[in-house]
């Protein structure tokens, strides 16, 4: 039997994604990584960063994709949902 981590529990992949996002958005007010299924490959990431202000949502999401390019390319991320906000 393979132990399945419950959704929302922080696993090693979640931590890796959060590290990549923190590195790309060092001044972010919020960086959150949710493992949607507990399987370590379906994620919902949220980034709130003042530097997003004035950028289109497409441009904001592109910055997040850029930050996570490696795990997207090597297939460790099967599905990625993104929420971005420009902050207060």
């Amino acid at each position: 039997m393979v132990a399945v981590i419950a959704p929302g529990i922080v696993g090693p992949m979640s931590e890796r994604l959060e590290e990549l996002l923190r590195a790309a958005f060092p001044d972010a007010q919020e960086v959150d990584v949710l493992d949607r299924t507990g399987g370590g490959d379906h994620f919902h990431v949220t980034v709130v960063d003042g530097s997003f202000a004035g950028l289109s949502l497409v441009a904001q999401h592109r910055l997040v994709y850029d930050a996570l390019a490696q795990p997207l390319r090597d297939g460790t991320i099967h599905e990625l949902r993104i929420t971005t906000k420009g902050g207060a």
């Binding site: 999401h61 592109r62 994709y65 990625l80 949902r81 993104i82």
Partner: protein, 131 residues
């Protein structure tokens, strides 16, 4: 390969609203693709869909054209509006209708006018044996 890319570009430029999805408008095989189509339907937009599943090169060429790594991708008047998350968010805040109005006038209000088009066969792309 470049022929396929040209077909993708032509489709993006010629279709007022086009969604590249996994599946067809009648049978969607991905929750995110479905979210994007539901957002378009929610505002009463007509759209063309392109199924990326028949050939992995479609997705590769599309991402090269759009600089966007994931499926679905929704284009309006030749411009990438977003993936599922953005299109859904725009729909919820009323900005999707505003975007469609801005880019297409009132011509996009065609509820139920949905079809799936191919970028891999038809008159624009011919496979040459040994070519």
């Amino acid at each position: 390969m470049s022929q396929l890319r040209d077909r993708i570009k032509d489709t993006i430029e010629q279709e007022p609203v086009v969604a590249f999805i996994k599946g067809t408008h009648e049978q969607v095989f991905c929750g995110n693709s479905d979210r994007a189509l539901q957002a378009l339907r929610g505002v009463g937009a007509g759209f063309a869909a392109v199924d990326v599943l028949p050939d992995p090169r479609i997705r590769e060429e599309l991402s090269a054209v759009s600089d966007w790594p994931t499926i679905p991708q929704v284009f309006v008047a030749g411009e990438l509006v977003g993936g599922a998350d953005i299109v859904q968010e725009l729909a919820m805040t009323g900005q999707l209708e505003a975007t469609l109005d801005e880019k297409l006038g009132q011509t996009w209000r065609r509820p139920g006018d949905e079809r799936t088009v191919s970028v891999t066969d038809g008159p624009g792309l011919r496979l040459v044996p040994g070519g």
